[in-house]
């Protein structure tokens, strides 16, 4: 039994799913994003990387409707061929109609609700319809009861995938950090997205939690859901992404496969320019790895 979106069919793989064109975002006098264009393809993991303050999260917020871009066009083409102009939709409509789900850099769980309830809230729109916008559900009709059961099954499915099934009845705020990350991703998956946007999913994870995260991400990609992720951890980016876009000061400086990007002199300069020993080291290791 699978609760994810239907398995992709070969003719849609590699299609353009998300197309960002000439995106600009201005905060007062600050140009956070300047004329950015890139694409994310269906069935792939696309990574958005760049030094701190490059505008990665701002791009995310524009795509998911939390910011209205100053200029530019963001087109999302769904599997059934329907197109949505994301910059014209409200934040909640982007998840509801355009099927784009997201997570947050600083985890935003419903900490006072249980893990299971978190996943049920994510199925709000489907359940709302099933409950006849509350009225039929209030009368206790069986249609809603079945839908509620199905929702719990779907939640259990993703809890299994996220290795959280044993904690289902605990408050979300009680989980350790890595588990909270996975729960947030599982919750986003329960909205039934075609594109999942992850904002630094590996930040602050220990190696074991990182591995568990990668497993979850592969599982999601195998369901046919495309992923767009922001990441600082180079090892994660290089290992799992199919396509990398590099930002610096709100502009794109490189775009291509992980191999292409890590050998791009512009990228190396951008990263070495940042006084962040850790990043430098990671890049150095990556470069050595590439030479051999």
């Amino acid at each position: 039994m699978t609760f994810g979106t239907d398995m992709m069919t070969s003719n849609t793989t590699g299609d353009t799913l998300l197309k960002v064109e000439h995106l600009s975002m201005k905060f007062g006098g600050l140009m956070a994003i300047n004329d950015l264009s890139f694409e994310a393809r269906r069935g792939e993991i696309t990574a958005l990387i760049g030094p701190n303050g490059a505008g990665k999260t701002t791009v995310f917020n524009c795509i998911t409707g939390f910011y209205k871009p100053t200029m530019g066009m963001i087109t999302l083409r769904q599997r059934d061929g329907k197109e949505h102009l994301l910059e014209r939709l409200n934040d909640f409509e982007i998840t509801k109609s355009a099927k784009v789900a997201r997570t947050f850099q600083n985890i935003r769980l419903f900490s006072g609700l249980t893990v299971l309830e978190n996943l049920l809230v994510a199925q709000h729109n489907a359940l709302m319809k099933a409950s006849g916008y509350t009225i039929l559900g209030l009368l206790g009709l069986p249609a809603y009861r079945n839908a509620a059961k199905a929702a719990i099954d779907k939640a259990s499915y993703w809890l299994e995938k996220a290795e959280l099934i044993d904690r289902a009845d605990d408050p979300a705020g009680d989980l350790p950090y890595g588990a909270q990350r996975r729960l947030e991703i599982a919750r986003a998956m329960c909205t039934g997205p075609e594109l999942l946007c992850l904002d630094e999913p590996a930040a602050g994870l220990n190696p074991r939690e990182s591995a568990a995260l990668n497993t979850l991400l592969y599982a999601i990609r195998d369901e046919g859901v495309s992923i767009l992720l922001i990441e600082h951890d180079m090892s994660v980016v290089m290992e799992i992404s199919d396509h990398v876009v590099v930002l610096e000061y709100g502009q794109k400086i490189s775009d291509g496969t992980p191999d292409h990007v890590k050998n791009d002199p512009k990228v190396i300069a951008a990263y070495l320019g940042v006084e962040d020993d850790e990043v430098e080291e990671v890049i150095a290791v990556e470069l050595e790895g590439g030479d051999h």
């Binding site: 999260t57 917020n61 939390f66 910011y67 947050f104």
Partner: protein
């Protein structure tokens, strides 16, 4: 035109009083993010302190100069409310700091009920009238300005200047501003946060006492439930001006005073409070941070 200017003067007087009370709300809100619902009743307490001082002094020293009398009323009122607010903060608010957000709000509402009923029980439920303190009136053309009004505006002006100096130029003010920005960081850098917050409460109460004394002088009557309506209006003023901003509180107070007196003059007096509240609602809906408030950016 004369009528308009007359109303302007009346509004300014009333607005000064609201502004003084509003500062107490705005400072406490700024520093610990709590609506101190009992602040209106502290204002009422200040009025009562002044009333009692007035009664005692006039019965012992019949010929006491008015200026000295007023000064003593203000000083005793300020000391008294300062002590009260210090104790209240210490006993009822401090233990709840950093706890559940609604707990201090409920405690403050409870404290407001306690204070007004305490005065009702100890001083009786009837209105307390006092004779006119200063009755001089000046005429400029058709406009009448009473000495009371001049006093109120002048005292407010002096206090505001002193206050502005304390907040912006003294170490105490710096500690207050630091605590407001980031309490934990301020504590790490050696600011005595508890003391700073206590002082803020005392300062707010002292200003409310001045407002209370002047309210008593202006209307010549005190009552145990005087705290609520002026309190709500002063809070409205603080929100209107942008809560957390001192100039905003004064500006808000003046605006509320003007709206009230102009509305009463040109429309019906019955709906003057409706006008005040409606304007508050409109301002907040279209500019939720008030006139001088810092815009709040939604962090995602």
């Amino acid at each position: 035109m004369d009528y308009f200017i007359q109303q302007l003067i009346n509004g300014l007087t009333l607005g000064s009083i609201y502004g003084l009370v509003a500062i107490g709300y705005t400072m406490v809100y700024g520093i610990i993010g709590m609506i101190n619902f009992a602040h209106g009743d502290i204002f009422m307490l200040g009025g009562f302190a002044a009333l009692i001082v007035f009664l005692i002094l006039t019965s012992f020293f019949a010929g006491i100069p008015v200026a000295l009398l007023l000064l003593l009323m203000l000083v005793v009122g300020m000391l008294m409310t300062g002590l009260w607010n210090w104790t209240i903060e210490r006993m009822a608010y401090r233990p709840l700091r950093g706890s559940f957000r609604l707990a201090p709000l409920i405690t403050a509402i409870g404290m407001s009920i306690v204070l007004s009923n305490f005065i009702q029980v100890t001083q009786g439920p009837r209105n307390k009238p006092i004779p006119q303190l200063v009755s001089d009136v000046y005429h400029i053309g058709a406009i009448t300005v009473s000495l009371k009004q001049i006093l109120i505006v002048v005292i407010t002006g002096i206090l505001l200047a002193a206050f502005w100096y304390i907040v912006n130029k003294t170490p105490l003010g710096r500690a207050q501003r630091a605590t407001e920005q980031d309490r934990k960081m301020a504590a790490l850098l050696g600011v005595d946060v508890d003391r700073t917050i206590s002082v803020t409460f005392v300062m707010g109460a002292a200003l409310a006492a001045v407002a209370g004394s002047m309210y008593l002088m202006y209307y010549g009557v005190a009552s145990f439930n005087d705290g609520f309506i002026p309190g709500v209006k002063a809070f409205t003023a603080a929100v209107l001006g942008g809560i957390g901003s001192l100039p905003g509180a004064v500006l808000g107070g003046l605006l509320i005073g003007l709206i009230e007196s102009l509305w009463s003059a040109y429309f019906t007096i019955a709906y003057k409070d409706v006008a005040t509240f409606a304007i508050l609602a409109f301002v907040l809906i279209f500019k939720p941070t008030g006139i001088l408030g810092r815009p709040e950016v939604e962090k995602v």
